[in-house]
């Protein structure tokens, strides 16, 4: 087990280095940051001076080596756009995105599993089929359309919820949370729904399919023959075995969550890392872009490691034959 974890960590470092190299080589094609950093009046000479000062004229391997060594020391450089250290920016904005991503995944998991199980048990029920059809909307409509539609309905017409932003947030150390204030909670509702809807659909359908499969297996038949109550069969036995594919998918979906978080954050003016990244791309704020990509790579690596560990916890069939790491 320990050797397995150590090997995963080594692989993680390799992945991050590879991402850094790829990201860095792409940056030469995203545009010229100097063009955005100086006003109309700047002369040709001034532009060249700034490029020199930013180190943009050094050859690529040197720029990359400097970058990796700085990162290892925890220095992410200064944002070209804001003139502030990138590490500060990441620290300020990460809570917003993490809260949003986490809550939307939680919403998707809870409702997805619940609705999936319900739809599996009451296969021919009207309500179940209705839920399935409506969930298709979540997957077929683009995220920004759902977001803007909800803003117009709930913020402009009904005036129940705020149309943008995080509301009042409470600072706990370096973390900021919107869950402790009323305006913060109200502000969370629409973004979480927007981001969670397509995930929920996927999980719901997956759980339903897997459950239907599990309910047909021999061990379920024997359990029924033994007289074990239907409820226990559904939740203690069948459901647990469907969780492996669900957890795998949920882990992989996390990539989509991060990606669509960018769209959601832009629509709702949510001050998170996704909005920061989009602005960095438009402004060619290379230090921020590089830091964001490294952050995403890190998140993926952690999530996949967690997914692997959850396998052990969830599926009793795996635990008996613990795989000895070679």
């Amino acid at each position: 087990m320990i050797a397995y974890i150590l090997r995963s960590l080594a692989q993680a470092v390799m992945v991050m280095l590879a991402v850094a190299l790829l990201a860095f080589s792409m940056f030469r094609f995203v545009g010229d940051p100097v063009a955005n950093m100086v006003g109309q009046e700047a002369s040709v000479k001034e532009r060249e001076e700034l490029a020199e000062r930013l180190g943009l004229n050094k050859p690529f391997p040197i720029q990359f080596a400097n970058y990796v060594t700085d990162m290892a020391r925890g220095e992410f450089g200064m944002s070209y756009r804001q003139g502030r250290p990138v590490a500060d920016l990441l620290r300020e904005r990460a809570p917003a995105t993490i809260e949003l991503a986490f809550l939307s995944s939680l919403f998707a998991l809870v409702f997805g599993i619940a609705l999936g199980v319900y739809a599996a048990i009451n296969r021919r029920g009207i309500l179940a089929n209705l839920a399935m059809s409506i969930s298709l909307i979540g997957v077929s409509l683009p995220t920004f359309l759902i977001g803007i539609g909800m803003i117009y309905l709930f913020a402009v017409e009904l005036r129940w919820l705020p149309s943008f932003g995080r509301g009042d947030v409470v600072r706990l150390g370096w973390w900021s949370t919107g869950l402790l204030t009323e305006s913060g909670r109200k502000s969370l509702i629409m973004p979480v729904l927007t981001l969670g809807l397509f995930q929920m659909t996927l999980i719901m359908r997956l759980v339903r399919a897997e459950m239907l499969e599990a309910l047909r297996t021999d061990y379920v038949k024997f359990a029924r023959a033994r007289g074990i109550p239907e409820r226990a069969i559904s939740f203690r036995h069948a459901l647990r075995n469907t969780m492996i594919p669900v957890v795998t998918i949920a882990g992989l979906q996390f990539g989509a969550v991060i990606a669509f978080a960018i769209v959601t954050e832009t629509v709702f003016q949510w001050p998170g890392l996704g909005a920061l990244f989009i602005q960095a791309v438009q402004y060619v704020d290379i230090p921020v872009m590089a830091a964001y990509l490294m952050f995403v790579a890190f998140v993926f690596v952690v999530v996949n490691l967690a997914v692997d560990l959850i396998y052990f916890a969830v599926d009793p069939r795996l635990r008996g034959t613990t795989v000895a790491a070679k």
């Binding site: 950093m37 003139g83 250290p85």
Partner: protein, 530 residues
């Protein structure tokens, strides 16, 4: 009990205070499409940052809503000798932290704006030295006679020397430093609003400066001003319609009609100080992206004129811009010194027949192919304008391949002079034709011609342009400007499309006019009883 009496008193007091202030003054939430990049007034020379700095900081001169140059922190100015402008400063002005405003602060601020890392040095081009004569008199010495010094100073803001030294921000942000400069998120100016808090990309809160020197001259009814950047167009408009925002400065063109018809909303419109146009490469011997080999079709003025004649600017105004544009015949916006009404006469309609005959006379009866570089996130509907123009130019045989990309990719192409045919927009902050000539028509050398990607180079015109910077006799200078326009306009080096228009939307108890420089002076807002 004694504490419930205190509570009662508080409650009554609060109710009384609220009832007095509610009608005459209130906080205002101000939404923009982009945030101010920094609070340092000498760091980033761009629109939203300058518009924000104008609430907290002030300069020696400014422009009123009719574009006239008026006193701000300077009460008067005159030429002491041919190369020295003398400014008399306003007295009894204090910074937000209580420091008095004196000539020391002006000398300090201008020297700070001249540092290599400042983006505002262009406004002080030609300035040799700034000298304090006494506490309320400053002399700006120039290398040669310079008629526009006062006009150029409207965006060079004054910081407090004492405050800057105490907070270690005497230098403008240098991106090589590892530490953030204090002025990036803190501000201390003489303006009508002072900084309460700053959360970049979330909100910036300002409160009314009750000790503002201009308190009697302007309404200054807004007690608290909050700048909220909302990038997404639809969300920004929704925030106004839902009542969460009071003023939206950047209104997307497609929502103007809707906002005009919304209840309790007001929309103000006006022309901007910016023209959108196409540029031609007239210098290269052959065009890289064209199928004409061995020669450059844009070198022939007939071809350039034909392109200009093929554009139906009225159609672009009506369909692409939904009325939010003024068809232009020349790349000078109407407020600029040197503009004449005849420049834009007959700019609206296309003359395809004449254009075709010009193309045939030039030797291209079947046209040719060419690539057009276009930005897609800088000007209002820039990509859509290019798209419409491509269709129009097709009528005279031009097969245009549109290369539309983000401004970060588009502008470097122009900076490196690598385009055959491109779109550009040009604003004129000094309200003088010299600004257009220097950047767009002068040969590309030294500090001039930085945006002249046409490769046009005419030494005779260059000399005339250079003479404008040192000619202090106004009638003579204006005559030279007219002479330059008369030489340049028939050359059709640029095909002007239109002057942009701006619109602001707000709740109807506020009225904010549109200024060509797209700055809102919130100190001028007086709430209307509706």
């Amino acid at each position: 009990m004694h504490w419930s009496m205190t509570r009662l008193t508080f409650a009554l007091g609060a109710a009384l205070a609220l009832s007095i202030t509610a009608a005459d003054a209130r906080p205002v939430k101000w939404a923009r499409g982009a945030d101010a990049l920094t609070l340092d007034p000498h760091s980033q020379n761009e629109g939203p940052t300058i518009a924000f700095s104008n609430q907290v900081y002030e300069a020696l001169t400014t422009r009123d809503n009719a574009n006239k140059l008026i006193p701000a922190l300077a009460v008067s100015w005159k030429l002491a000798d041919p190369t020295t402008w003398e400014f008399k400063l306003r007295q009894n002005v204090k910074f937000h932290n209580g420091d008095p405003f004196t000539a020391d602060d002006v000398v300090f601020s201008y020297n700070r704006a001249l540092q290599p890392t400042s983006d505002y040095k262009g406004y002080l081009a030609g300035v040799k030295e700034i000298v304090k004569v006494d506490d309320y008199t400053v002399q700006v010495k120039t290398t040669g006679p310079n008629p526009l010094v006062a006009d150029n100073l409207t965006s060079v803001f004054i910081m407090s020397k004492k405050w800057s030294e105490a907070n270690n921000t005497t230098k403008v942000q240098d991106f090589k430093n590892k530490e953030e400069n204090f002025a990036v998120r803190n501000a201390n100016g003489t303006g009508p609003f002072s900084l309460v808090s700053r959360e970049p990309d979330v909100k910036t809160v300002l409160k009314r400066n009750d000790a503002y020197w201009g308190r009697g001259e302007v309404p200054l009814e807004i007690t608290e001003l909050t700048l909220v950047p909302i990038k997404q167009d639809a969300t920004r408009v929704a925030a106004l319609l839902s009542g969460e925002m009071d003023v939206v400065q950047d209104v997307p063109v497609q929502d103007i009609e809707r906002l005009k018809n919304a209840p309790k909303m007001r929309v103000t419109e006006g022309p901007e100080n910016r023209t959108i146009f196409f540029g031609f490469d007239v210098g290269s011997p052959e065009l890289a992206s064209s199928d004409v080999k061995g020669k450059n079709p844009f070198k022939d003025v007939r071809v350039r004129e034909a392109v200009s004649l093929s554009l139906n600017r009225t159609a672009i105004q009506r369909v692409v811009m939904r009325g939010q544009a003024v068809p232009a015949g020349t790349i000078a916006p109407p407020f600029v010194n040197g503009y004449k009404k005849e420049f834009d006469a007959n700019a609206g309609a296309a003359d395809v027949a004449k254009a075709k005959s010009l193309m045939a006379a030039a030797g291209y009866p079947n046209g040719f192919s060419i690539s057009l570089h276009c930005p897609n996130d800088r000007y209002l509907n820039d990509e859509a304008i290019c798209q419409a123009a491509v269709g129009m130019m097709g009528q005279i045989g031009l097969k245009v391949n549109m290369i539309s990309q983000s401004k970060s990719l588009h502008f470097p192409v122009l900076q490196n002079v690598k385009s055959d045919f491109y779109m550009l927009g040009w604003g004129v902050p000094t309200y003088d034709s010299d600004y257009i000539f220097s950047f767009l028509y002068h040969t590309r050398e030294g500090t001039r011609g930085g945006w002249n990607a046409t490769r046009y180079s005419n030494p005779e015109v260059d000399k005339l342009i250079q003479s404008l910077s040192s000619e202090t006799d106004k009638p003579k200078r204006d005559a030279t400007i007219a002479q330059i326009w008369d030489k340049l306009r028939p050359e059709h080096l640029y095909a002007a499309i239109h002057h942009q228009m701006l619109a602001h939307a707000m709740k109807n108890d506020i009225e904010v006019p549109v200024r060509p420089d797209n700055i809102i002076f919130f100190k001028q807002v007086a709430f209307k009883k509706s």
